[in-house]
């Protein structure tokens, strides 16, 4: 049991988090936070899985899941290691130059805090002198909360924990599980990827409409890596990951919306979490999917992918509001400007592994946003960014059509 929990934490928390350290460096400093690292880590991890799992599924006839697991597992470990090394190098470059070696090596709370601040500069909180400095934009840094706001944060965390507890202890019936969850279990028990009919067990050809949405195979990978039954992973363990991850995305949205009124952020989060619980006005709403079909790809599209796109739209819009001349920017600043578009590409890849519907919805949403932005700004760079971000969707559709036709 303890070994299983340990393995699950390694594969579901630590490795994606360390992977998130790689794309983190291209983001603006205020976004280099622990939460964003976790989100980008998962986006990166899902994208890597898509690139590995789909070719394995299409080209390997026997034991395709076995090969996919081996390649993906090795890639994850390598990338996590690379992320760790990059952060160590970053800490060395910044701290070791400024501080005597003896002090750096000494293990103390202060040195540890300094090291973490180098890796996650977005977590640095404002000091009194920051408020006094007229040139400093305090809204870009994390600010301290009043006691009342801390209490609101507490309420939000309690609601979220309650939802996680309910997801763990309550079973929700959904007929689609007979397909999706069984696909994961088939991968774990028979090493196949979508070539056995989940309902009855007969052999079948690749069902292209569902096959490219390999999130079921990712759940099977976690089950195999953790040594847990795939159905337990889907129904009991994955909600404990997806529920807080979704709220992390909402916090990022809130941070942009309430940039200059940060005390409103916890209120916003409490209301969001209440809406998630009371949004069950019909069986079709994203809120219903969020707490009753948390593990399914379509739930991830409506509750993770779409909010992620809105977060990136807000971020890009904010960048657009600062009238910067591209030619005057340094290479690092240029990378910061295009970083949300790169993340959008990763979100599109995540969308593809969740559901083929996600690819369509994501493209329509990005297209709508781009047209509005184009009218508002008359900057064609928006179109270029959107087109590049949608390349994964284009490739996905081409693969879909090449198999389907």
């Amino acid at each position: 049991m303890i070994l299983t929990i340990f393995r699950l934490i390694i594969w579901m928390v630590i490795i994606p988090f360390l992977m998130g350290l790689i794309p983190l460096r291209m983001l603006p400093q205020n976004r280099q936070t622990v939460a964003v690292t976790f989100i980008t880590g998962y986006l990166f991890s899902f994208a890597v899985f898509e690139v590995i799992a789909i070719p394995c599924m299409i080209h390997i006839e026997y034991g395709s899941f076995h090969y996919a697991c081996r390649i993906y597992g090795a890639a994850e470990l390598l990338l996590a290691f690379a992320g760790l090394l990059q952060s160590i190098r970053c800490v060395r470059e910044k701290i070791y130059r400024e501080t005597p070696a003896a002090e750096v090596r000494r293990i103390s709370g202060r040195t540890l805090r300094r090291k973490l601040e180098v890796i996650f500069p977005g977590e640095c909180r404002l000091d009194a002198e920051d408020y006094l400095n007229p040139r400093r934009d305090v809204s870009l840094r994390k600010q301290r909360y009043s006691r009342e706001s801390v209490a609101y944060w507490g309420i939000f965390v309690l609601i979220m924990l309650f939802q996680m507890y309910m997801a763990f202890t309550r079973a929700s019936f959904d007929g689609d599980d007979a397909y999706y969850v069984t696909e994961s279990l088939l991968a774990q028990q028979a090493n196949v990827m979508n070539t056995i009919l989940p309902y009855t067990g007969s052999s079948t050809s690749l069902d292209i409409r569902h096959a490219l949405a390999v999130i079921t195979m990712w759940a099977a990978f976690i089950a195999k890596a953790g040594g847990v039954h795939a159905t337990i992973v889907s129904h009991t363990i994955l909600p404990l990951l997806y529920i807080p991850m979704t709220y992390l995305v909402y916090i990022q949205i809130g941070r942009i919306l309430f940039r200059k009124k940060h005390e409103m952020l916890p209120v916003f989060m409490v209301v969001i979490s209440v809406i998630q619980m009371f949004g069950n006005t019909s069986i079709y709403t994203p809120e219903t999917f969020f707490l009753t079909r948390t593990w399914q790809g379509k739930s991830l599209v409506s509750n993770l992918v779409i909010p992620l796109l809105f977060w990136l739209f807000l971020w890009i819009s904010r960048n657009m509001s600062e009238k910067t001349e591209w030619k005057k920017l340094s290479a690092g600043q240029k990378l910061e400007q295009i970083s949300p578009w790169i993340l959008m590409g990763l979100v599109n890849m995540t969308s593809g592994i969740c559901s083929s519907m996600g690819v369509i919805l994501g493209t329509v949403l990005i297209g709508t946003y781009t047209i509005v932005m184009l009218i508002a700004t008359r900057r064609f760079s928006v179109m270029l960014g959107a087109f590049c971000a949608c390349i994964p969707n284009l490739v996905y559709v081409l693969i879909y059509l090449s198999i389907w036709i």
């Binding site: 309550r170 007929g175 279990l185 159905t231 209301v271 069950n280 709403t285 932005m373």
Partner: protein, 258 residues
Amino acid sequence: MFGIFMESWIIYRQYCGKGFLPIIFLAALIYLFFTEKDRWKRIVMVYVPLIIQVAFFIPVTRIVFVAAMDDGATYYRFLWMLPMGVIIAYAGCHLFEKHRRTGLVVMTAVVVLAGSLVYRSNLITRAENPYHIPQTVVEICDMIAPEKGEPRVRAAFPSELVYFVRQYNTNIMMPFGREMVEAQWNYYNAVYEVMEKPKTIDTRALIAATRETKCSYVILATGRSMTQDPEECGLKFMATVGKYRVYEDPEIIKAESK
């Protein structure tokens, strides 16, 4: 075109369901349209959702969607692109910016009254095990599942259990599964025809059908009316698990073990 518009309207009504949250969402959108000063936030939080909302009702959108997805039943998912929760919460925070405490109470009360608690759904029950499937299924499957290295077995289950069997053990195959239970798919299956459709099962016809599909096991609900006792027709009673009686077919087991 008007017919397609009406279809979209009905889908929208079904999507909105019993609560008033979608109405509150529209009110929030209108409120932000008039009060949000930040141009960039207006683009993301007002204009894009407004376009999506209007586009949903335009017949051409539905025609293109159905053509692209080859499925009109999932058109409601177009509405997933509307960030209802974010817009309601943001508009509320915007409105009660200077009265946070009152605002939080009012907003929470409105959401609770206008919405519907997900945990009150009759599809949610206390989990009987970590698999979140009925314990009866787990016990039946443990009884009939092949040992490691043995060939897979086939078992006929009542339709209310077919959803769960292969979520627990894929080494148990079934003559019919969920594809037969969902009425809209309208498939034919010989075992399903004799096992689930008639009020009283014709035992001989059932066993002929399960033997045809090489079912080593047959699981029947205890209260199910039958023309004959299955044991009189060659099945062997194994055990009663919960509300179900488990039978094995010695003829198929013998044939399969050869």
